[in-house]
């Protein structure tokens, strides 16, 4: 519990109406897009870096945990205030400060919604490629904190490839400005990269300088359907090997195809075991079309029984709606879903898919396979009903097996969601003791009092057992 004096001080910093402390209000700041919930002691919504500085100074002095969040659309528990304390809601910091057309750069506050930025820059012919599925609601700050990706990252890279500079409020309230409006910069440590993917454990990112690209004028999208999942996963490597780098290469299995088709009333072949969405973009219409045709030939040679090229932009939009709406569409299939984010080398996708199907059989779950197959990032999803006794233990075991399989194949735990609370117990397995201890040293140097997003990213338990079941939900989140 925070003292009334602390609350008053917070009111003084951000204004009374931006301090949320009612019992119902605290519930609204207790969750992300996973099943976890833990209420903060207070939520505050600052409007600018200066206000964040004052909040951090207070938190540092009083040793109060601080969890920063944007839209809290995370899938790993990264923004759940599991230690209570101050929840820093950065949604009000939603100004696009500058779109520098000449240099193709943008300066934005952390709370800018990703799609909003894309819309603004596209008005002047520029392009911000990272496109997480939640782009209509998630924020740039959150994207930086989790190093978010999306379908376009196969060709264009992830958030970290676009961050040129950051303004970060450190644990003690000092303001760190690193990087800048510079395309090249070898002056000292690459500090912006340190904060990207740090999930709010090292500082609070308040402003971001982003690199932009020229907006490609033409896009062409095709879908390929397969009667065998393996044929589709093999096609991924075959396309890359053919010398084409598609803008996106997305994989969906049979259940996903049907869920999407039902959800959006789309006309898709229901018995196809897999579907690939292939997209190419560029400025030369003929060249783009030719590459899509070439990809169509490659996937046909790998066994695709049907390849369709979207004829209109409406058809293409429908396809992307199907892909973006997939998470929610799957949510309708079963009461609960455990969605993963493993990544392997693109060439090992067929093996990984095979292992996933085996794991499903072994533990008696339906495991759905979809994801950004082109870049090796898959979102295998375990469907289950948590009201069945003993089911959570089995889900844990299956999830563990998925993590282990990815690591065995030289892959890693998360491609774009981050670690949060959900995968932290596997960090030593994923990184090894040396890397983890270096990370701990960095954390200690930047956050000596341990107030920044406590209990995240780093392992908290002696064993993996109970790594899901020990996570907080409403009712077991507050002492007493």
């Amino acid at each position: 519990m925070l003292s009334e004096k602390t609350i008053e001080e917070l009111r003084g910093i951000v204004g009374g109406e931006h301090v949320h402390i009612g019992p119902a209000e605290l519930v609204a700041y207790s969750y992300d897009a996973t099943f976890q919930q833990h209420r903060p002691d207070v939520a505050v919504s600052p409007a600018c870096t200066e206000e964040v500085v004052e909040v951090m100074k207070l938190a540092y002095r009083e040793v109060i945990p601080v969890v920063a969040r944007g839209a809290s659309t995370g899938l790993a528990g990264g923004t759940i205030p599991v230690s209570g304390g101050i929840l820093l809601n950065l949604a009000r910091m939603n100004k696009v400060i500058e779109i520098d057309k000449d240099n193709a750069m943008a300066v934005v506050q952390a709370g800018v919604v990703t799609a909003q930025l894309q819309k603004e820059v596209e008005k002047v012919g520029l392009f911000y490629p990272p496109d997480p599925a939640s782009l209509n609601q998630c924020t740039i700050g959150g994207n930086v904190a989790c190093n978010a990706g999306g379908p376009r990252c196969l060709k264009y890279g992830v958030t970290r490839h676009y961050v040129l500079g950051l303004t970060v409020v450190l644990a003690d309230g000092r303001v760190l400005r690193c990087g800048g409006k510079l395309m090249k910069n070898s002056t000292g440590y690459q500090l912006p990269q340190l904060f990207i993917g740090s999930e709010g454990t090292l500082g609070v990112v308040t402003e971001v300088i982003l690199r932009l690209l020229p907006l490609p004028r033409v896009r062409s999208t095709a879908t390929a359907f397969f009667s065998k999942l393996e044929d589709a996963s093999r096609s991924v490597a075959a396309i890359i090997a053919s010398g084409i780098l598609p803008a996106t290469l997305e994989l969906m299995d049979n259940v996903c195809i049907n869920a999407s088709a039902d959800y959006l009333s789309l006309d898709l072949p229901r018995d196809a075991q897999a579907m690939l969405i292939l997209e190419q973009d560029g400025n030369d219409e003929a060249a783009v079309r030719k590459e899509v045709e070439r990809m169509a030939e490659v996937v046909k040679a790998q066994g695709a029984f049907l390849v369709k090229v979207a004829a209109t932009s409406k058809e293409r939009d429908d396809l992307w709606k199907a892909r973006r709406g997939l998470g929610p569409a799957l949510g309708r299939l079963s009461p609960n879903r455990f969605a993963e984010d493993i990544t392997v080398a693109p060439g090992r996708i067929p093996e990984m898919v095979h292992r996933l199907l085996e794991i499903g059989k072994e533990f008696g779950f339906q495991i759905l396979v979809f994801g950004h197959a082109g870049d090796g990032n898959l979102h295998p999803s375990i469907l289950f009903d948590n009201t069945k006794p003993g089911v959570m233990e089995q889900v844990e075991k299956a999830a563990e097996a998925i993590f282990d399989a990815a690591l065995e194949l030289g892959g890693t735990l998360s491609g774009e969601h981050g670690i949060g609370t959900l995968k932290r117990e596997f960090m030593e397995d994923a990184l090894g003791p040396v890397a983890l201890s270096v990370m701990k040293d960095i954390k200690k140097a930047l956050d000596p009092k341990g107030i920044l997003n406590p209990q995240k990213v780093f392992p908290q338990r002696a064993s993996r057992k109970g790594f899901i079941m020990a996570l907080p939900t409403l009712g077991n989140d507050l002492p007493g």
Binding site: A24, A33, A71, G111, V113, L474
Partner: protein, 439 residues
């Protein structure tokens, strides 16, 4: 049971997957950027309340009751959460356990329980306001600060001037000028649309007649009951629904047409509203199937193309209860585009609630006003001279906002513009053939 109504919505609540997509469309979230003012926040709060982790606290009441019930979130929700049902159920459980603000008590006692229950009383009260507006009384009241003294000055400014006589439905008929009618349609006249906007309702009848309809203003009909329903006065809503069903039952009309999106949504759901009533269940469902918004109906016809040229730049404000709840987005736009000389320019956020939302402008004046100003800003940015809409709530709200800001914008119903266009095409002839046949 303490959470009697909300517990019925348990599955509905549980289907939220917290993806947060609703944040991108929620008007109150857009304004506040506070999670408790978002659909996802309200659902989480309702769930915690249902599960016993929250009691009725002032902050719970504040954030749940600031929901406009605009259904923008429901329309976009990938997981299928039905926000209006959820919110109305929550309010049904909470209503008795919280202090009711004055504005709400007033609207309940006067509007819901009296005026809307009896259209002759409603007309009487509206007539009083009309006299007040036309006589020097208004100027007197404003000048002396009398309204301010009673705290009514804001309320009074919301009302547009009432022109022309009220439409009292008593079986009047409108017929096509030539040929036999293709459809026999009942005109649902409603409350505000038959008084404040009676000219629009007459225009609706004329436009329908010009498009091959025999139009009947069926007697015995009254308020649709949606204000009651949204205030969780389910019995009030059912009572009004039965009366409307009775009124139209004998008329054997092909369709029941209305020009009020808000009413239309509830009328289309009478089947569910009276689903537990063995005497009315089937009639209610049959009644609901006949309901068509006038824009939806006209857009589905091979329309009379004798439209005269106009000179107007129009932007379209989407009523939530047309776009989000009835899924009618293109029909009004198609109608507007069909008018020669009318230039339709799209505003940003055309489907973000204007803040009218039933009695929301009375119960939540601050948020209501913020949303109205947002709408006016977006409309002005298009360079339009007219905002067209299709719902009395939106029109009242936008009128008040225009009065307040002095913005040079006319507020019209889509059908008003169509009617004007037909009149331009046939300036000398009498389009309005009212046979006023009493039944």
């Amino acid at each position: 049971m303490i959470r009697k109504f909300l517990s019925v919505e348990d599955d509905n609540l549980q289907s939220c997957i917290r993806c947060g997509l609703c944040l991108s469309v929620c008007p109150t979230y857009k304004e506040t950027l506070a999670e408790e003012e978002s659909p996802r926040g309200r659902i989480a709060i309702a769930k915690a309340f249902l599960e016993g982790y929250l009691e009725v606290t002032p902050d719970l009441v504040k954030h749940e009751y600031s929901c406009l019930l605009c259904e923008a979130c429901t329309a976009i929700c990938p997981a299928g959460v039905q926000m209006e049902r959820l919110e109305v159920a929550l309010r049904a459980d909470v209503n008795g356990k919280r202090p009711q603000p004055f504005g709400e008590r007033l609207s309940r006692a006067i509007l819901y329980d009296r005026l809307l229950m009896d259209m002759s009383l409603f007309r009487f009260a509206s007539g009083f306001i009309r006299v007040y507006q036309r006589s020097g009384l208004r100027r007197f009241a404003r000048a002396t600060g009398l309204l301010r003294a009673f705290g009514l000055h804001k309320l009074e400014g919301l009302l547009p001037p009432m022109r022309g006589s009220f439409v009292v439905p008593k079986g009047q008929r409108w017929l096509p000028r030539s040929g036999s009618p293709e459809y026999r349609v009942g005109l649902f006249t409603g409350c505000v649309m038959s008084t404040v906007y009676s000219s629009t309702t007459l225009a609706t009848a004329r436009v329908l007649a010009a498009n091959g309809c025999e139009v009947i203003a069926v007697s015995g009909q009254g308020c649709c009951g949606s204000l009651h329903f949204h205030a969780a006065d389910f019995e009030g809503a059912r009572k009004l629904a039965r009366r409307n069903i009775d009124a139209f039952l004998e008329q054997r009309v092909d369709f029941i047409i209305l020009n009020s999106a808000g009413c239309g949504t509830l009328l289309k759901h009478y089947g569910e509203l009276l689903g537990d009533d063995p005497d009315y269940k089937e009639e209610a469902a049959a009644f609901a199937r006949k309901i068509k918004d006038v824009t939806e109906f006209l857009d589905g016809l091979n329309m009379n193309k004798e439209l005269g040229g106009m000179n107007a730049i129009v932007t379209y404000q989407e009523p939530c209860h047309l776009s989000h709840t009835q899924g009618i987005r293109q029909a009004p736009r198609n109608l507007l585009r069909s008018i020669p000389g009318l230039k339709l320019v799209e505003m940003e956020e055309s489907d973000v609630c204007c803040g009218s939302a039933g009695v929301y402008s009375i119960t939540n004046p601050d948020m209501s006003r913020r949303l109205a100003m947002r709408k006016i800003r977006n409309a002005l940015a298009t360079g339009a001279d007219t905002i067209a809409s299709a719902n009395p709530g939106c029109m009242l709200q936008l009128y008040a906002a225009v009065q307040e800001t002095g913005a040079k914008l006319q507020i019209k119903h889509v059908v008003d513009l169509l009617d004007e266009s037909y009149r331009v095409a046939r300036p000398k002839e009498e389009v309005d053939i009212c046979l006023a046949k009493k039944q």
